[in-house]
Structure formats: structure tokens, C-alpha cells
């Protein structure tokens, strides 16, 4: 009797499982021709907020929902496409820029977008400093409007700030945002119905998935050609990579180990491209009494085999970097080839430099004249397994030339705190934001005004590089629109990088990008890099969505 009961119970359970599974199970969603699914693991579920001035929410709305004045393409060295502004002009020795706002643009609620909205946006972020993510008001003096033109006055010549004011500031509607009491805490959730000028609106959002749908009022006629965008939330990498491999997601921004075996082999429509965007480097604390000696830094630069680090630590996905700090091939027109070749792997030369500088080898480790060993700790983010692996290789290679390095893998919060405060000897990091020309990354790394004394928070230039000549070069660049002058200046900055070795670029950080051409066409490719292809690049992902169309 009891046995029969148990058998019945188990049979019942099996029946339930069978019937549930028996129906057509859609694990691999077909692209359906007019929708695209994105796979970009964030390690979190969605908050369902779209405030583009909130650093944790801007990624989900700036691009498809909110748009900039001009679209700047980093992969084409900053080529600018007029967007909400139909034209722009510098004047007053590059201290003033005037934007003409495009006519006949409508917000998604049907109201017209005018220069008043642009003016309001800039006044809003001036009033609430917490919204000024790009710190544009540290350079701006005033923003005024006259008819359909908006004029921005900078405190000094500020040509590179074009990227931030025109390309990285989302324009929001005055008629909505002027009614909000506290824009800093404003979530801009789907219930509040975010109103933007972009090609998509938010159809729905749950912690598991965001759904965007076509904006019928969009100002570029005939676009977008796809109807829906699905953006699921992934709390860990494996389900995200699995969805890409199975075709359930078509646009990936994932780090996929062994990409050939795990992704490319699953379908002939699976492709990837990893365009390099900014460097991952060893930052050297220039305030450290031993590391102050440039000979040690130069020796380190010779001792590291960058291609080996790239191959083993990064699966070959990130190309080896060069000491000038110029990312190639993205910015190869800026590169000084002879400077770039200077620090190729040469451990013998590294040892020579150290010996001629007066260091003595003892028990396999070099020592200073006062007997202090060249032994340092290198901090790293423990969660980034590829950086940890790369740093290990660097440590091995430095050990081989007699410089002892001990790794210290930290949580990202502790790592950031130590980096900003300068509490490290060496640091393995690639956290610069970069920009549409090498200038932006170099400025972040070398401009002394970005730095701060040890113990205080430095927003970048964590190695504490203070060089007046380089500072004036950086400021001179900002004053010119002449391409040849800019190239000359960058050339001199490259020379400073190779002479002073404040940081040692090891590999070139890339945009993670996978795409499936089964049902969709119009993807960014190496031949056609019309935008940065990772889904986490703003506002570039909006531009990518505009190019996507059903195949055939």
C-alpha cells in the first residue's frame, strides 16, 4: 500500500514534468527579423530607471532614448556626425562654440525639440552638480540661446571639450524635467514615461528584462528598421555566454574565454571583433622613493614581454600595447613608430640599465646603494581574472630581471580606494575612460590637475605624474583645431611617455563585441566602424541600433 502510494506520487511528479516539458520549449528565441536581444552581463538585475544623469542608469537610456548634439565616433578618430545639432562653429580663438539646433525634431510625446530644451539641459546640470557627470561646467563659463542657436562660452580654449558637451551630454525635454522636484533622486522609470528624442522608447521593464520599442515620432525618417530591443539582465557570465552561443541573444558585449570553441563554432553566423580603445597598464607610484628613479622604470619597460602577456593573460584578445600610450590600430595615424619600437622585450638590456644605475644584484634581487631591495607590491582587482593572470606574467618577467613583485588582489571597492588615494607601489589597471583621440587617455594619465597628493582622492593620473612641460602641451592641444598642430603636440607627449615611463602600457583594452548575422544586418564591423560596438558604450549603442535591419 505504502509502496503503491510512493510509486503513484513519483509517477505523478514525472507526469507533471513531462507535460510541462512536452510543449514546444523555446530555449533559443529566433531573432524574429525585427527584434534584437542583447547579452551584456552586469552582475545585477535592472533597477528600471532611465535618468540619463545618473551614472548607474545612463547606460540604459543614453543612445536609444536620449540623444546628444553631435555623434563623435572614436573608432574613426573622432569623426563628428551632426545629430540634434545640424551644424556647429568654433569662434573667438576656440573659446566659443555655436550650435544650430536641427528643426522638425519631436520628442516621443509629440512636442517639438527646440534650442530652449538644449539650454535647459545645460542649466539643469549646472544647478545640480551631481548631474554633471562629465564635469562640463568645470570648463564652461556660460551657455546662452538666441533663436534656434545655442552658444557656449568656455573659460579658456577648450576644443577637446567638444566631445563632452556635444557628444556625451544627453538632451532632455524642459517641459518634463522642469516639473521634477529632485532630479538627483529622479528615477525616470517606465511608469513616469521617459520622454526622449531617440529612436526607441521604453515599452516595459522588469528586473529580469528591459524592452524597448520603436519611436514613431523619430526625426530620422524610415529609422529605426527594427521594432523591438530586448535587454535581459544577467547576474553571472555563464547564462549570458550561453544565450550568445545558442543564438537566443544576437548582440554580445561579453568576455568569452576560448571564443572559437565556445561561440564561433556554434554557428557560421557568429562573429566577433574586439577593437582596442584604451590601455591596460602598470601604474608606477612616482612618489615612492625607490621608484622615483627613472632607471628602474625603464628597466621594467624592457623586462616585460607584452605579446606573451596578451597571449596568455588575455587569450590574445587584447593586442600588446606600446610605451607611447597610443592605442593601435585604432589611432595609428597618431603613432610615432620609432618611439613605439623603443621598448621591445629585452631582459638583458633591463639588467644592464639597472647595473649601470648603480644597483647591485644580491640573491637574485637588485638592491639600492643603501641596501634596500627592489621589492614592490602590485595591486589588482581580484574579480578580473584576466587582469590577475596578466599581472602574474608581468610579475614573473620582472622577477627574471631581479625585481621582486608581490601581487595583491583586492575587491574592486578597495582597489579603487587605494588607487585614488595613491596607496600602492605598483598598480595594474585599465580604468581610464579614454575618448575619441589619444589625447583624452593621455590627458587622464598625465595631466597634473587630475591628480592629487598621496592620501587625497585623485580622479585619474593615479601615478602622480607632475610635469609642467607636459601640462602646457596638454593645454596647448586644447587651444587648437589644427590637425597638424595636434599631431605635433601628441608626438611630444609620446616622447615624454618613453622618456619618463610614468606608466607602462601592457595590453590594449578592447570593446567586447560579438554579433550574429543570421537574421540581422547592419552591424559594426572592422571595415565599417561607424560606432563603438559594445552595448555598454553610450551613446554609440543607440547608433548601432539605428543601423540594424532585418536581413534580406
Amino acid at each position: 500500500m505504502k509502496r503503491g502510494l510512493l510509486v503513484l506520487l513519483l509517477a505523478g511528479l514525472a507526469a507533471i514534468v513531462w507535460s510541462a516539458a512536452g510543449g514546444s520549449v523555446q530555449t533559443a528565441r529566433s531573432a524574429g527579423g525585427t527584434s534584437v536581444t542583447i547579452s551584456n552581463e552586469q552582475g545585477a538585475t535592472w533597477t528600471c530607471g532611465y535618468n540619463p544623469f545618473n551614472a548607474s542608469l545612463v547606460d540604459w537610456s543614453f543612445g536609444p532614448v536620449y540623444e546628444p548634439l553631435v555623434f563623435v565616433d572614436e573608432l574613426k578618430s573622432g569623426a563628428a556626425t551632426p545629430w540634434l545639432a545640424s551644424k556647429y562653429k568654433w569662434s573667438n580663438h576656440n573659446k566659443t562654440i555655436t550650435f544650430t539646433i536641427r528643426p522638425h525634431v519631436k520628442w516621443s510625446d509629440g512636442k517639438p525639440l527646440t534650442a530652449a530644451d538644449v539650454l535647459y539641459t545645460f542649466q539643469l546640470i549646472k544647478k545640480y552638480k551631481a548631474l554633471d557627470l562629465q564635469a562640463v561646467w568645470s570648463a564652461l563659463k556660460s551657455v546662452t540661446r538666441s533663436g534656434n542657436k545655442v552658444t557656449m562660452q568656455f573659460k579658456t580654449a577648450a576644443v577637446p571639450y567638444f566631445y563632452y558637451v556635444a557628444g556625451q551630454t544627453p538632451i532632455v525635454p524642459q517641459h518634463i524635467w522642469s516639473k521634477i522636484n529632485n532630479p538627483v533622486n529622479f528615477k525616470d522609470s517606465p511608469h513616469q514615461n521617459p520622454v526622449g528624442s531617440g529612436p526607441f522608447t521604453i515599452a516595459s521593464c522588469s528586473p529580469q528584462v528591459m524592452k524597448y520599442t520603436k519611436n514613431p515620432h523619430y526625426w530620422q525618417k524610415g529609422l529605426p528598421k527594427i521594432d523591438t530591443v530586448y535587454y535581459p539582465a544577467y547576474t553571472s557570465n555563464d547564462p549570458a555566454n550561453q544565450d550568445l552561443a545558442s543564438g537566443a541573444a544576437q548582440w554580445g558585449s561579453q568576455f568569452i574565454p576560448s571564443i572559437k570553441a565556445f561561440y564561433l563554432s556554434k554557428s557560421k553566423d557568429n562573429h566577433y571583433w574586439f577593437p582596442p580603445v584604451s590601455n591596460v597598464s602598470v601604474f608606477i607610484n612616482l612618489k615612492n622613493p625607490i621608484l622615483k628613479n627613472v632607471a628602474i622604470r625603464r628597466a621594467m619597460a624592457y623586462a616585460i614581454d607584452r605579446s606573451r602577456v596578451s597571449q596568455i593573460g588575455e587569450y590574445g584578445y587584447e593586442p600588446p600595447a606600446n610605451q607611447t600610450g597610443i592605442v593601435t590600430p585604432t589611432f595609428k595615424s597618431w603613432l610615432n613608430p620609432s618611439l613605439a619600437k623603443q621598448y621591445s622585450y629585452n631582459p638583458t638590456k633591463a639588467k644592464q640599465i639597472l647595473t649601470s644605475a648603480g644597483f647591485k644584484l644580491k640573491n637574485g634581487v637588485f638592491q639600492t646603494k643603501t641596501g634596500k631591495p627592489l621589492s614592490f607590491t602590485m595591486i589588482n582587482i581580484g574579480g578580473y581574472s584576466d587582469w590577475v593572470a596578466s599581472a602574474q606574467i608581468v610579475e614573473q618577467e620582472l622577477k627574471a630581471v631581479g625585481i621582486k613583485v608581490t601581487p595583491s588582489n583586492l575587491s574592486s571597492t578597495t582597489f579603487d580606494a587605494d588607487a585614488y588615494a595613491g596607496k600602492f607601489d605598483l598598480m595594474y589597471s585599465g580604468n581610464e575612460a579614454g575618448g575619441p583621440a589619444p589625447y583624452y587617455e593621455l590627458r587622464q594619465e598625465l595631466y597634473s590637475k587630475n591628480s592629487a597628493p598621496i592620501g587625497k582622492t585623485a580622479s585619474s593620473n593615479w601615478e602622480r605624474y607632475y610635469n609642467q612641460k607636459v601640462d602646457s602641451l596638454i593645454e596647448a592641444y586644447a587651444a587648437t583645431t589644427s590637425s597638424s598642430k595636434q599631431h605635433q603636440i601628441v608626438n611630444q607627449i609620446e616622447a615624454a611617455m618613453t622618456r619618463d615611463v610614468p606608466i607602462i602600457p601592457i595590453t590594449e583594452g578592447v570593446d567586447w563585441y560579438q554579433y550574429n548575422t543570421g537574421h540581422l544586418a547592419g552591424w559594426v564591423t572592422k571595415k565599417n566602424p561607424f560606432a563603438k560596438p559594445a552595448a555598454y558604450e553610450v551613446p554609440d549603442w543607440g547608433v548601432m541600433l539605428l543601423h540594424l535591419k532585418p536581413k534580406g
Partner: protein
């Protein structure tokens, strides 16, 4: 009655201690939320904006510890747990309430199922000690219980979702669905819950089987069971009403506690299956030092466990007269 009142008093005191500890411990941890915020926005936020956010957020305000304690206490009783850092600018309560139903449904149901099935199998195995059921079930399930959970889960995904395409590989529901109380959504959510539920069941049932089996064996040696047999009662009635009811008592407190811990979510499950529950939210809040969310979740767990233990105590009093005569 006095017993229940004493238990209730105990509950209140423990609750107060839990709330106080809940307030103190995050503040005793190394690191601080201001740095956590900076790291959160990695290069995308400049120091002035960060500073402005800190002020708006109430982080780094130099309020005395005692004052913040009383504010905290007041807020807890008003149900205000503050704004979450990781889900800024969402309220903690809103975020937790969104994730909680999924955890309750998945982990709650499977815990109850595991307990029910486990005790049933344990009882049967002990009743027919040495029989086929006893020789098969306990060993098999004890072995499966010792498998690392995530390994079993990944194996299940590989076999049932990737190779056989019988069940979905991840998520709480299909992303193309609309969330709502419709039958299609309910069916879809159910389909997505099968694999996680089965894997949890297989790994947790072993403990219940073993404990129940051992308890029953002890109970079966008692005189009253022998008396019942001598009286000529039907065997399954003895097993059920005499042996079963007495054997289950020690397990009740264990069950109550595991019910309480249901709200802690099952972190590994949610990770491997990308399930939108409370478990990974917990891990995430600790990693990003999101004090408000951490405290909200800690409190949720402590209150639930305490309530569950109280309920178990009361249930034991009702079910087992031997516990009633205390001075």
C-alpha cells in the same frame, strides 16, 4: 499559556538584539559607502558630482552613532529602509519586494517539498528497515546531497536544456513575456522553475530522509508502538499516527529554521540559473557595501527566522504535551 508568554518575551528581546547588531555590524566592517560609490561609477563620475551625491544621499554625514541608531530604529518600525546604493535611486523596500516573491516561490516551495518528501521517505524507509526502499533511497539521496550544488545544477542545464532542449536554461521567465497574473505567464514561470527546483530538491532531501529515518527507528523501539501492534492496529496507522507523529517532532524546529532561511534565498541557484531572487541581491549588496540594502535584507532574514522559531516552539507545545509541564 505562561510558556507561550515567556517565549513571546524572549522573541521580543532577541528581535531587539538582532536589530541592534544589524545596525552595528555593517558599520564595523572595513571600507565605507563613499568609497564604494566612487568605485561603483568607475571613472564615469567626477569628484564634485560624487560629493554632491554623497550629500544628497546622506552618506558620510558626521552624525553621532547614538543619534543614527535611534533614527534607524524609528525608520525600521515605520518600514523605511532607505535608498539603495546599488539600485540608486530605488527604495530598498521596492527592490526587495520585487525579488522576494521569486525566492519565496522557488525556495519556499522546494523547502516544503523537500521536507514533506524527505520525511515521508525517511518514515517509510525506517518502517521497512532493510527493505528495497530503505536500501535504495537513503543512500542515493545522501550521495546526491553531497554533490556540490552548482556542479549538479550546471550538469542539469547542460543535459536538459542544452542537449535535450526539454527545459529552459535560465531566467525566471521568457524575456519576451509580459509579467502579469495570466495563465501563460504562470505556466512559463513554472517551466522555468522546474530545473532549479529539482536540483535544490535533489541536493537537500538527503538530510531530511536521514534524520527522519533515525528518529523513527528510535521511536519504533518504544513500548507504546509495541502496545499498538499488540492491540492489532493496522500497520500503516501505527506508522502514521503513532511512530510518525512522534518521530517528526525533533525535525520541526529544523524545518522552521530552514523556512526562515528561505528568505536568504539560494545564492548559488540564482547565480547558475540567473533567477531574479533575493540571494544574489544579498551577495551584491555586500560586495558593493550597500548598507541600506544589506541591513534591509539582514533584518528580513533575522525577523523571519525568529518568527519561524517562535512558531516552531508554539507548535511543539501544541503537538507534544511533554513540553507543557514546565514551571
Amino acid at each position: 499559556m505562561r510558556f507561550v508568554l515567556r517565549r513571546l518575551g524572549f522573541f521580543v528581546i532577541t528581535l531587539w538584539a538582532a536589530i541592534t547588531l544589524n545596525f552595528l555590524i555593517p558599520r564595523l566592517m572595513p571600507g565605507n559607502p563613499a568609497e564604494a560609490m566612487m568605485g561603483q561609477y568607475r571613472g564615469r563620475i567626477n569628484p564634485q558630482a560624487l560629493h554632491a551625491l554623497e550629500i544628497a544621499f546622506g552618506v558620510n554625514n558626521h552624525e553621532s552613532l547614538l543619534r543614527s541608531y535611534f533614527t534607524y530604529f524609528g525608520n525600521v518600525f515605520r518600514g523605511r529602509f532607505g535608498v539603495s546604493l546599488t539600485f540608486f535611486p530605488d527604495q530598498v523596500t521596492h527592490e526587495v519586494l520585487q525579488a522576494l516573491p521569486w525566492t519565496l516561490a522557488l525556495v519556499g516551495v522546494t523547502t516544503v517539498l523537500a521536507f514533506a518528501l524527505g520525511t515521508l521517505i525517511g518514515l517509510l524507509a525506517a518502517w521497512r528497515r532493510g527493505g528495497t526502499l530503505d536500501s535504495l533511497m537513503p543512500p542515493i539521496f545522501v550521495i546526491t546531497s553531497s554533490f556540490p550544488y552548482f556542479w549538479l545544477a550546471m550538469l542539469a542545464i547542460w543535459l536538459f536544456a542544452i542537449k535535450l532542449h526539454w527545459l529552459p536554461a535560465s531566467n525566471g521567465y521568457s524575456i519576451t513575456d509580459n509579467v502579469g497574473w495570466t495563465s501563460t505567464f504562470a505556466y512559463d514561470a513554472f517551466k522555468h522553475a522546474i530545473l532549479p527546483a529539482l536540483t535544490i530538491l535533489i541536493t537537500s532531501i538527503g538530510a531530511w530522509i536521514l534524520t527522519m529515518r533515525n528518529n523513527t527507528i528510535t521511536v519504533l523501539t518504544e513500548d507504546y508502538v509495541r502496545m499498538a501492534r499488540a492491540k492489532g492496529l493496522k500497520p500503516w496507522r501505527i506508522m502514521w499516527t503513532y511512530a510518525g507523529r512522534n518521530a517528526i517532532l525533533p525535525n520541526l524546529t529544523g524545518f522552521a529554521m530552514s523556512l526562515g532561511f528561505v528568505v536568504a534565498g539560494a545564492i548559488l541557484v540564482e547565480f547558475v540559473f540567473n533567477y531574479p531572487g533575493v540571494g544574489w541581491m544579498f551577495l551584491h549588496s555586500v560586495e558593493s557595501e550597500d548598507y541600506a540594502l544589506m541591513q534591509g535584507l539582514f533584518l528580513l532574514i533575522t525577523v523571519t527566522v525568529l518568527t519561524a522559531i517562535l512558531a516552531a516552539d508554539v507548535a511543539t507545545v501544541i503537538l507534544d504535551p511533554r513540553t507543557r509541564d514546565t514551571r
